[in-house]
Amino acid sequence: MDWSLFFGELVSGLTLGSIYALIALGYTMVYGILKLLNFAHGDVYMIGAFVAFFVLQWLGGPLSPAVTGWFAVAIMFAVAMLACGGLGVAIERFAYRPLRSAPRIAPLISALGVSIFLQNSALLLWGPQFRDYDTFDLIGVKTYNIGQNFFISNVQILTIAASVALMVVLVLVVSRTRTGKAMRATSFDREAAEMMGISVDRVISFTFFIGSALAAAGGVMFGIVFGQIFSLMGFTAGLKGFTAAVVGGIGSIPGAMLGGFLIGLTEAFATGYLPGGSTYANLYVFALLITIFLIRPTGLLGSPVIRKV
């Protein structure tokens, strides 16, 4: 067995997986609280990547940034996360909140509308062409050889480490802070939480803010790892993040992370090892989704649903 190839696929799977996991967290948190599949989430991720790109342009472009490369990257992350957090809050306020007591299918269709609206607005304003992050010039990509032909680059390490760090922060926020407690209470029973004096609207806005900011971080990471972004990248990535959330058990935060890494690894190993993998990697991910659904309909870490009448 070619362990060098194996290691390469492992690393690229983990890199992809950490991006998917960041997207999946937004889906899973929103679903946990609103029981809504937020189709627009993938497009928020795309817009995050574009905001960071324009910040980079504003800083003077990748070839001659006004500040050092790593600092520029930090600014890109911060601005994109803040902007997309705001976008997420606005989407919730205007497209979902008025429909909170409507039949289940209404907010879903509204979400579909928002997704198409955002995607095509991006297409209208920024065109279908690729935009270059030029990561090589910006931060100088280095590839390290650990062991025998086991290659890993500093960008890959950064991506995996940064997303794990963000996930740790998220888990701490949800489990240790008052707001996190309010989120858990709202997700458990919205009406009861409201009766206990929790401002449900604010909790939901906060959830959308965090989820969208994480998606934006994922978008910027995609740009840095692959060097290029385009206005239609949100659809497929959103679908994968979505799948990751469902595979891990929607509503469960550790589940979303596990699902994200699982999807990323599946995609990478399918590309490397399975017949027709380079073209049909997504088909194998779909097969994984179906298989997990057949074995465990609530996802890997999802709890069985108890429905109240």
């Binding site: 679903y31 029981k35 599949l37 606005a90 205007f94 497209a95 008025p98 429909l99 007591s101 409507a102 039949p103 289940r104 299918i105 209404a106 907010p107 879903l108 269709i109 509204s110 579909l112 509308g113 928002v114 997704s115 198409i116 609206f117 955002l118 995607q119 095509n120 607005s121 297409l123 209208l124 304003l125 659809f235 497929t236 679908l239 979505f242 799948t243 469902v246 929607i250 017949p275 027709g276 380079s278 073209t279 049909y280 997504n282 088909l283 991910v285 779909f286 989704l289 179906i290 659904f293 057949l294 309909p297 649903v305 429905r307 009448v309």
Partner: protein
């Protein structure tokens, strides 16, 4: 949802008189049977039209809806017949199938277009110069319909254990998988090698499956657009009649029960999963059938035709027409297909845009004098801005509208048309979205005040940006916004029945 629709028309103490029927029949209930009578019918002109429509017997309604379609081919040319007529009909049939899944059974099927594509491709594989087989349509079409239904059954079987929402992701991914598959299954280097047969060119890959045979029933070949038009029209009429009766049947009622509340339906011993599967299969079969028409009309099946854009178009039709409304899909298809087709020429598009804007303002803004103030205000505002900007920044008014006659020349003096407006228009688009959102937050005269710059911004963005990509991104932007707005303002669509909510 507006307050007026909640529990509207519910007679006082309705649940207390359940035994009004002498002889109880299975599947019938007084309260359910009176469902139609409890519907809210609006006052004024719309209410009058709605009541008049109700009074026409169903065959009359069908004739009224489809009659104009039967005349259309005799008053137009081939090209228009294809673009306005045939495509509208094909969309209507597709929307009818989707209406069963979404409107009757309440399942969010986002892979619906994959069944449509599957129908076209399967027909192409059985009857085309590309594949080398030439089956007669009377054999091929039933095979396609049955196989698509089976495919729907298969996908449904995978999903029926899942909660309702998960169906959306499985089907959306299914559509994506379908597109990837047909894009690559050309027996090329990266394709699968199938057991027993090895590599096969199934779909022609990105180039599409070409040279599909025209539909050939017992030797009668349909070759003209007119022929396909009438074939589709008859299919639509038959399907609408069929659905009308299905809707009245026990199955139809059970589907509606399922849509309103699956849990309650299950408690009433409705076989929820079987009904879901049935709806799913029904919808898939109709999509597959429509696919054979579309494949034959285009004499080819191309991967780009079966994507999310079409899915959104069909959804917009169903939502606009009203979930669960059979006649609504025809109107919805007319609006959704007709409007963008008219938009193809920018002069028509301009009239349509301003027309819809003014109309929406006059209908949506109450009382009427506020709308008039907003209109007059916007006109004055525009001329004022134009004069001011023209004085300080000459580039701002340097552009000109191409064509458009007197109306276009008048607009030249009203809307700002800077040269190289790309960047400004981008920011203006952003500002327009913000202004439109603010508009939903303010009330009374403030709304008029915000409305004036919003309308002007809309005109500015339209002339400088949106008009460039009328048949591409702009169309989908408008459809996406339409879905959100309709869901927020009138969830039942134009022809849908307002729901009776029992709290």
């Amino acid at each position: 949802m507006p307050d007026g629709q909640l529990g509207a028309g519910l007679p006082e103490g309705a649940p207390e008189v359940p035994d009004a029927v002498d002889r109880p029949r299975v599947g019938t209930d007084e309260w359910v049977a009176q469902h139609e009578e409890r519907r809210e019918v609006g006052r004024g002109l719309t209410g009058l039209v709605a009541r008049g429509w109700e009074r026409i017997p169903p065959p009359g309604r069908l004739a009224l809806l489809l009659g104009p379609f039967a005349i259309f081919p005799f008053i137009t040319n081939e090209g228009n017949l294809y673009r306005y007529g045939l495509i509208t009909l094909i969309y209507a049939v597709l929307a009818l199938g989707l209406n069963i899944v979404v409107g009757f059974a309440g399942l969010l099927d986002l892979g619906y277009i994959a069944f449509f594509g599957f129908g076209a491709y399967l027909y192409g594989i059985m009857a085309s110069g590309h594949s080398g087989h030439h089956l007669q349509a009377e054999i091929a079409v039933p095979i396609v319909v049955v196989s698509t239904a089976l495919l729907g059954l298969l996908l449904g079987l995978v999903s029926w254990r899942l909660l309702g929402d998960y169906l959306a992701i499985v089907t959306l991914f299914f559509l994506q998988a379908f597109v990837i598959f047909v894009n690559n299954a050309n027996g090329g280097l990266n394709d699968f090698s199938y057991p027993f047969v090895g590599k096969v060119d199934l779909t022609g890959g990105a180039n599409g499956l070409d040279r599909i045979d025209p539909l050939n029933f017992f030797g009668f070949k349909i070759t003209t657009t007119k022929g396909y038009y009438f074939y589709t029209l008859i299919a639509l009429a038959v399907l609408m009649t069929m659905l009308f009766f299905v809707n009245l049947s026990r199955t139809g009622r059970a589907w509606r029960a399922l849509r309103e509340d699956p849990l309650a339906a299950a408690a009433m011993s409705t076989p929820v999963n079987r009904l879901k599967l049935l709806a799913f299969m029904f919808g898939a079969a109709i999509a597959g059938f429509t696919g054979t028409i579309f494949g034959a009309v285009q004499s080819g099946a191309f991967p780009g035709d079966y994507d999310v854009g079409l899915l959104i178009t069909i959804y917009a039709i169903v939502i606009l027409g009203g979930l669960g409304s059979i006649g609504g899909v025809v109107i919805g298809a007319l609006i959704v297909n007709g409007a963008p087709e008219l938009l193809r020429s920018s002069a028509n598009a301009r009239f349509l845009f301003y027309g819809v804007l003014v109309l929406a303002l006059l209908i949506g803004m109450k009382p009427w004098y506020r709308a008039v103030v907003a209109l007059v205000g916007t006109t004055a505002f525009g001329f004022a801005i134009h004069a001011i900007v023209g004085a300080v920044w000459s580039r701002g008014t340097a552009g000109h509208i191409q064509g458009g006659g007197a109306f276009g020349r008048a607009l030249d003096h009203w809307v700002l048309l800077p040269t190289h407006a790309d960047r400004i228009a981008g920011w203006a688009y952003f500002a327009l979205i913000v202004a439109a959102l603010v508009l939903t937050l303010v009330r009374g005269w403030w709304r008029v005040v915000v409305m004036i710059p919003t309308l002007y911004l809309a005109a500015f963005v339209w002339e400088n940006k949106l008009v460039e990509q009328v048949s591409g991104a702009t169309r989908l932007i408008l459809l996406g916004a339409l879905l959100v707005v309709i869901m927020n303002v009138r969830p039942s669509g134009i022809f849908g029945t307002a729901r009776v909510e029992v709290v």
